[in-house]
């Protein structure tokens, strides 16, 4: 029998020694500390890692409470949106005179805010032009604020509110005009570029 065959056949008999348990203990001391032993790892798996997992895995009672909480959040959101949309609370002076007018004023005011944002975005690359437009708008806004300030003392409140609404309408008209100007400028620019 050749040496190679002998060793192949008795391979296991050559493996006699094994390191002691003390060797493992020394080795383990050199390994990086475990991220977490088995026990805590299992606990971690059972624990929901967030409130939404809690909804999925929780009992019926817990689920109902989460549903209630979610409903409240949604309701508050809707109320905030309605309030912002028809910001009647922002027009207490007008509300005092006529709730109908207050609603109209709020609608105009919110429309103006939207259009101002739009204008700002469109004129972002032309700060000079935006400043000019903003100055015109501010002049109307100042007269509006003056009217609003006079409202509590004025004898004919309805007339004054109508003037305020007219002012707001003027602001909207002006904004529309400004937006149209910007639109036209952009169109010209693009046609110049394409030609």
């Amino acid at each position: 029998m050749s040496l190679e065959n002998f060793i192949r056949e008795h391979r296991d008999e050559f493996e006699q020694d094994a390191p002691t348990y003390a060797f493992w203990q020394r080795l383990a001391a050199q390994l990086p500390p475990p991220a977490g032993d088995n026990h805590s790892a299992e606990n971690g798996q059972n624990k929901p890692s967030g409130p939404f997992l809690g909804v999925q895995r929780g009992s019926g009672v817990a689920r109902r409470w989460w549903a209630v909480a979610a409903s409240i959040v949604v309701l508050l959101g809707v109320l905030w949106w309605v309030n912002a949309r028809y910001a009647a609370t922002e027009q207490p002076e007008v509300v005092a005179v006529s709730p109908a007018y207050a609603k109209e004023v709020a609608q105009y005011a919110s429309l103006i805010d939207d259009k101002r944002d739009e204008l700002k975005a469109l004129a972002a690359n032309n700060p000079g032009l935006y400043q000019q437009f903003a100055n015109d708008l501010d002049r109307l806004e100042t007269s509006y604020l003056a009217l609003k300030k006079d409202l509590p003392e004025t004898p004919n409140q309805e007339l004054l509110i109508q003037a305020m609404i007219q002012n707001l309408q003027l602001q909207i008209d002006l904004l529309n005009e400004q937006l149209r100007v910007i639109e036209r400028m952009k169109q010209q620019n693009t046609t110049h570029e394409t030609v």
Partner: protein
């Protein structure tokens, strides 16, 4: 092994309604252990260590030839392996990967002793070849004994012992041994034959 493709095709065919009649081979627990080790699971580290410790310790001892040094090498190798476990891509078995680390560490340990791994012992090539011719007859008539072979291997000079054990016990071929020891394949081959001759003469 022949039953494997058949089992696979049943599963791949998606015939879920038909109960699998072929016995399911026991799953290799090593990939799972490796995955758990990567998460820092100390228990998995111990299980993986336990599975390979004995074999790797013997690899170390045969190469290094010294108990205490073999333990040091083995410890460094395991620390290295656990620390670089993310580099194990499963291209080979985990055992082969670990063994490579152990062997490289053990050979590195020998190198630090500043002893030449390949014996510089001059050998008359003609005498060597003549010795080769007669060797086969000697081997066939030998009465081998595990313990005596073991002791004789341990007594071999480092350069002989490393090549001989890597080839005979650890199943590396001469190309692989050449790479491990940074020598040519033919050097490994001739060194092995010399080592073997020396070993037989010692018995």
């Amino acid at each position: 092994m022949a039953s494997n493709p058949a089992t696979g095709s049943v599963a791949a065919g998606g015939e879920m309604a038909i109960p699998r009649l072929t016995p399911i081979l026991p799953l290799d627990p090593v990939p799972d252990l490796v995955a758990r080790c990567l998460l820092g699971d100390r228990r998995a580290q111990y299980d993986l260590y336990k599975r390979y410790a004995k074999a790797m310790y013997n690899v170390c001892k045969r190469i290094v030839g010294h108990d205490a040094e073999a333990e040091d090498v083995l410890q460094d190798a395991f620390v290295d392996a656990f620390g670089n476990l993310h580099r194990f891509r499963g291209e080979s078995t985990f055992g082969a990967w670990l063994k490579q680390i152990v062997v490289n560490r053990a050979v590195g340990c020998l190198r630090t002793r500043r002893l030449p791994l390949v014996s510089t012992e001059t050998l008359d090539n003609e005498n060597f070849d003549r010795a080769e011719e007669g060797e086969g007859i000697d081997e066939a008539q030998m009465q081998w004994d595990v313990e005596r072979v073991r002791q004789a291997v341990a007594r071999l000079p480092d350069g002989y012992r490393v090549v001989l054990t890597l080839y005979l016990f650890d199943g590396y071929d001469h190309d692989e041994i050449g790479q491990i020891l940074s020598i040519s394949e033919s050097t490994s081959r001739s060194q092995y034959l010399r080592a073997k001759r020396k070993l037989i003469s010692e018995l």
